[in-house]
Symmetry: C2
Subunit: 204 residues, 2 copies
């Protein structure tokens, strides 16, 4: 049995995607949640000075999306060929792009710039992007790609509450019920539910 550790902050977000996927596959792992105040001491021990980091038998894996794709392919949650793997990747990059753009604006310290950039996204990006995301999920039977459960869904679910914060859209559930339904469907998978029931409760 390999010794597996997931290092992340005491939050769900990018760490949660990995925890959910491992839980689903029945892989035991140590859920190492590093308090923010301890992070400066530990930061230099991580390959890129960032988390999440996955450690398997002493080998460290960094960069959340790279880790998820790796675990997905390893555990039968990827495509059956290059075309299918491409479709997962394409939709994952699109989803990631949506929250990354939102995240930059959310974290902007300058209130004037923050308001202007948020207005720009709300006017020229979110209407198209969120509708497109909704269409993708509906076309894929409630999944992010391939019409079935893949590693992309674990990314979607683990990040979803954090995405609502980054997009500053607490009403996203109502506007696009398909989003919450997809996130809930992952958390309803028996092993994911068992993990989540025991895990510390956090806002996102």
């Amino acid at each position: 049995m390999p010794r597996t550790i997931v290092y992340y902050f005491p939050e769900r977000a990018l760490g949660e995607c990995i925890r959910l996927l491992l839980a689903y596959r029945g892989e035991e792992f140590i859920d190492r949640r590093i308090p923010h105040e301890d992070w400066p001491e530990i930061k230099h021990k991580m390959p890129f000075g960032e988390m999440p980091v996955l450690e398997i038998d002493g080998k460290k894996y960094a960069q959340s999306l790279a880790i998820l794709r790796y675990l997905g392919r390893k555990h039968g949650l990827s495509g059956q060929d290059l075309e299918e793997d491409f479709e997962i990747d394409q939709n994952v990059y699109f989803y990631t792009d949506v929250w990354t753009r939102g995240g930059y604006v959310y974290h902007e310290a300058n209130e004037e710039a923050k308001a202007a950039n948020m207005a720009e996204l709300v006017k020229n990006y979110y209407p198209f992007a969120l509708k497109k995301l909704d269409e993708i999920i509906k076309k894929n039977n409630g999944h992010l790609a391939l019409g079935k459960l893949t590693w992309a869904d674990f990314l979607f679910a683990g990040m979803y509450d954090c995405v609502k914060v980054k997009l500053q859209m607490p009403d996203l559930d109502k506007k696009y019920p398909s989003f919450k339904k997809l996130a809930d469907s992952v958390y309803a998978l028996p092993r994911c539910k068992a993990y989540a029931d025991k895990a510390p409760k956090t806002d996102y």
Copy 2:
């Protein structure tokens, strides 16, 4: 012979990575460069309203990194197993992160916010990140991963001049000679050179 088209703006950057990889593999492609003034008319024909887009026999592939990974795996420019593919992905996400952070600051319209965010990156991010990138390239015999030519190097080379603009670091070549050396090594590959010699000259 499949009919392959690369759609992008009349620039190198993300479109160039794909063009370079196809050129290296000897794949003939139509280099469709859409002038910015024509883009609003064409935007809605692209899967996510963005470019680059690769079209092969009528099937459109979007999201630049997804396209590159797909082409890399298809054309023998990826890893030999999951561990190697992971290493490429990990280093690619890191490189991408560097220029994405820089890009957001570069495109900030609010001058005050732009200056403050640039100062933050220069103080707390670039020194670590660029040194790390330099170490990675040196450790990998002048490549971005696996110590040999992979699809990651085409990403590196195609984006490099654009990265200097996004990072607002025209002196990056001098600070980290390994970066320019890697970019140059891809453009020195005979088929890439033949492509570049014929291609329109652009700043980045």
